[in-house]
């Protein structure tokens, strides 16, 4: 309905291959980014930043990372939390042990360590497929849970096992207020989203998808499974690691291994599946859905209770949340197994064909 594509012809391949070939889409995305940079700070209050926006951004980043592995390369991983943890703890150690270490560098180095871990635990994927691999990745989850709990070196021998970072700053500017943190995360997310998109639409992305869709055919056209899969693990866990570092440094400030336990892994997997496998945009949708839903429920359920004059105990709320959450997940998988991204693209097609049927 909103699309006017006449005259939008392409006279070069570069123009034809850009991320948003349609002008209306480019405008839309620019407006969105502009809103995120200018609009949101004007509207959001502290709670919104701390409880929703910042977690959403960081989890989107992690989801993008996971989506590269699961959605694009077709390698199931249940160990994402662990790689976030590696990122967080590695960054922490660089940060506290090397004095004068800039935050960004520390975070990126965290990502690098996570990459290494990812590659090591990705090696089995060369022989193992599907559910077997999924369970194998749990090994990483439990191993790192344990390691960061029991091996004090990682926690800089902090007595409580809890680690914390303070006074983050970027080029001398302090990142303490929620707004600063928001921008910090937003920056990371935008940059990495772009880089990730470039990768998946480049030839490495095609190699990943080829492995995912038909690995024999892929090898016959000369794609090396080793390289394709491990590079996916590497890129994926790098991004995930960075997200982990952000989660620790920016969102939590002080944390313990439980922050990255298996539930986190599942949560992220939900995000990519409900958001849409093999879609960068889907990662954002999924993150929004999964991270906002519980908050939404925790707000709505008591209200509902009061409506019927019942005061709902916190325990009951917690349980109802679990139920509704689980129920919605199932419902979603049944109605749209391909996730929100699919719904989005269908909607877009409808708009382009309007008023004709899809």
């Amino acid at each position: 309905m909103l699309y006017r594509e006449n005259g939008q012809f392409k006279t070069s391949y570069a123009a034809d291959q850009q991320i948003f070939p349609i002008a209306q889409d480019r405008i839309g995305i620019l407006l969105l980014v502009a809103f995120a940079i200018v609009g949101v700070p004007l509207l959001a209050d502290e709670y919104l930043f701390r409880a929703i926006l910042i977690p959403f951004l960081i989890l989107s980043l992690a989801a993008i990372g996971l989506n590269i592995l699961v959605g694009y390369c077709g390698q199931i991983s249940l160990g994402t939390g662990a790689f976030m943890a590696v990122g967080a703890y590695a960054a922490y150690n660089f940060f506290v042990r090397v004095d004068g270490m800039p935050v960004i560098v520390a975070i990126l180095l965290g990502g690098v360590c996570s990459t290494l871990a990812g590659v090591v635990f990705g090696i089995p994927s060369l022989r193992i497929k599907g559910l077997y691999l999924a369970v194998a990745t749990l090994a990483a989850q439990f191993f790192f849970d344990w390691a960061f709990l029991r091996i004090n070196w990682f926690t800089n021998n902090s007595s409580s096992g809890t680690v914390s970072v303070a006074d983050l700053s970027l080029f001398g500017i302090k990142i303490d207020g929620p707004l600063g943190k928001y921008y910090f995360c937003l920056g990371f997310v935008l940059v990495f989203a772009l880089l990730a998109k470039n990768l998946v639409r480049g030839h490495i992305g095609r190699e990943w998808m080829a492995m995912r869709d038909m690995d024999v055919a892929a090898s016959v056209i000369g794609i090396r499974p080793v390289y394709a899969k491990l590079s996916a693990f590497a890129v994926s866990s790098f991004i995930v690691g960075v997200a982990g570092a952000l989660w620790g440094f920016v969102h939590l400030g002080s944390w313990e291994p439980a922050a990255f336990n298996i539930d986190r892994s599942f949560q992220l997997l939900f995000m990519v599946i409900i958001g849409g496998l093999g879609s960068i945009m889907g990662s954002f949708f999924g993150a929004a859905f999964i991270s906002v839903l519980p908050i939404f429920l925790s707000l709505v359920l008591p209200a509902l209770g009061n409506l019927f004059g019942v005061t709902i105990g916190t325990a009951l709320i917690a349980h109802t949340e679990l139920m509704v959450f689980g129920g919605l997940i199932v419902f979603f998988l049944i109605v749209e197994p391909h996730g929100l991204a699919r719904l989005w693209s269908i909607g877009k097609e409808k708009m382009r064909l309007w008023p004709f049927p899809h």
């Binding site: 990768l199 480049g202 030839h203 095609r206 869709d213 016959v220 056209i221 000369g222």
Partner: protein
Amino acid sequence: MAEHSNPSTPERGSNKVILDVNNISLSFGGVKALTDISFNVREHEIRAIIGPNGAGKSSMLNCINGVYTPQQGSITFRGQTFSHMSPRQVAEMGVARTFQNLALFKGMNVIDNIMSGRNLKMKSNLFLQALRIGPAAREEAEHREFVEHIIDFLEIQAFRKTPVGRLPYGLQKRVDLGRALAMEPSVLLLDEPMAGMNVEEKQDMCRFVLEVNEEFATTIVLIEHDMSVVMDISDRVVVLDYGKKIGDGTPDEVRQNPEVISAYLGTSH
């Protein structure tokens, strides 16, 4: 068209052997798929492998391009002899193939499927790709142009951005061929390129195969069920039956071969 693309024009099938299969035997856990198969392929010829279902035709191709490793035997390609090669090595030596039951990348559109055939030729590293600057961007554009030539050649311009899953079967077969052509192969293995096609689709595919063979001087090894097609376009034919070679020669010779007749021509069709 027909009279100009006569398969047995003199310069075809110059007697130089490009691919030589020596005593290949292959079995899956006791089940013998191929027994002591030998045949050769000459530069620029169209070589057909025929045989009833389960004769081991596809297995033969899988051995040639390294998907399966035969227990015995070796394959000589351009004078180099190998007893085992990884599919990657085979691809690098310029052998491409299409698949009997479509093996397209369902999640991608036509362009990307064919583009994926160019991956061996795309060199820019991860970082350049992530930033999509300089060489990476240039590379994408250059190879896209090459791919567009294939799309043009296969006459699928109207579908270049359609997800392959949505294409009719006949067109998917073309894309499959396109992906193989994108590798600029010197030897092209076709696994039943015309299976399950209607008459026009078969004619088109025949045309493409012949044109590939002529325009790009590509050597073609083809498995096909449709005898008329095989006898029409191939220079020499190998006949397999239960994993054994029972005939080898020009279409006419094979037609005469009594063993072949009883095993194949007589029974099927």
